[in-house]
Symmetry: C2
Subunit: 184 residues, 2 copies
Amino acid sequence: MRRSSEDTKASILAAARERFAADGYDRTTIRAVAADAAIDPAMVMRYFGNKEKLFAAAADFDLQLPDLEGVPGDRIGATLAAHFVERWEADEALMVLLRTAVTNEEVAGRMRAIFAGQLGPMAATLSGDPATAARRAGLVATQMLGVALCRYVLRLPPVVEMTREEIAAWLGPTLQRYLLGSPQ
Amino acid sequence: MRRSSEDTKASILAAARERFAADGYDRTTIRAVAADAAIDPAMVMRYFGNKEKLFAAAADFDLQLPDLEGVPGDRIGATLAAHFVERWEADEALMVLLRTAVTNEEVAGRMRAIFAGQLGPMAATLSGDPATAARRAGLVATQMLGVALCRYVLRLPPVVEMTREEIAAWLGPTLQRYLLGSPQ
DNA sequence: CTTGTTGGTCAACAACTGTTGGCATAACTA
DNA sequence: TAGTTATGCCAACAGTTGTTGACCAACAAG
């Protein structure tokens, strides 16, 4: 039996996700992806057109923000923090995006769209104040992307060693204040 | 008069810093740096040996943490936040490091050393508790590197639009709690 | 058996990269 | 003035990359 085209396409995509997540866009080569998928580089081109399109297919990402209805008002920050950490660790797509957005303006734009489109509305709903919602969402982004950067990319030891629960406990009040509180 | 070798070396270094800060390590080419410095690529090699050494020379960085003696106990976080933002904006070296550390394990190690060596001791002094100092320093790193990432690299609009004072006001209490407070 | 389609390989291209060695030229020194 | 040295340019190398087109082999339909 010959492999179906869908199977190879999927295995290429899996290999691409790993490579992009580990090495970023520039350091990932079509040849390396093909080798990981045990296939000829030309197949990658045939199935995905070019490197950019392969990346686009590998970097499909959704924050999947949780439904916060029913969460006690003072637990929103901690719930959100826990969700983010879980989300980062469940899916390589975020690492793919983060590692690439740093040196690729187009991908940075995609990142901006994700956070503006998904975190912004949530902040607006929670705070009830459309005027400051974008800023509140931005503050949340700084803290959560900072954790992703330090924990998964730079691997700062103290940040790596914390458990999800500890992170949620420490960051909960921070997000809480950014979303619902005031500077002081 | 011929240019002195020091002048050329300095102009190469300036061009390299800009390129590395804007594009990261991989996308920066010796040829582009040379063109910016209006000089032949071979000169870059003669003066700096190879690309890695050029990078090392361009990425020399010190957090220059301020002396917090005399700062009112409840203003430590805000003072620190303001200092960081000022520091990022005064020197391209941080962007050079950040843009590269994301896809280069060696540079990531350098980043770890900077934060462990400079932020760790400060946290130990402030909190007076050596057991939790590293973790506190790590938390501060997540928030401040997160700001650097969102403001200067990803350029999330709400984060870019905030003034230094607003950032200091919002992040002050966060850093304050990470350094001196408890999770809850 | 032939024919067309599908999944796959191979070899090569053109462009770009870091890097090197030889050659020119201006300036200083004896 | 002659020689030496510092400064610089040019052309080329070897390796890697994305990408392409020609070719091969298995399977299904006629």
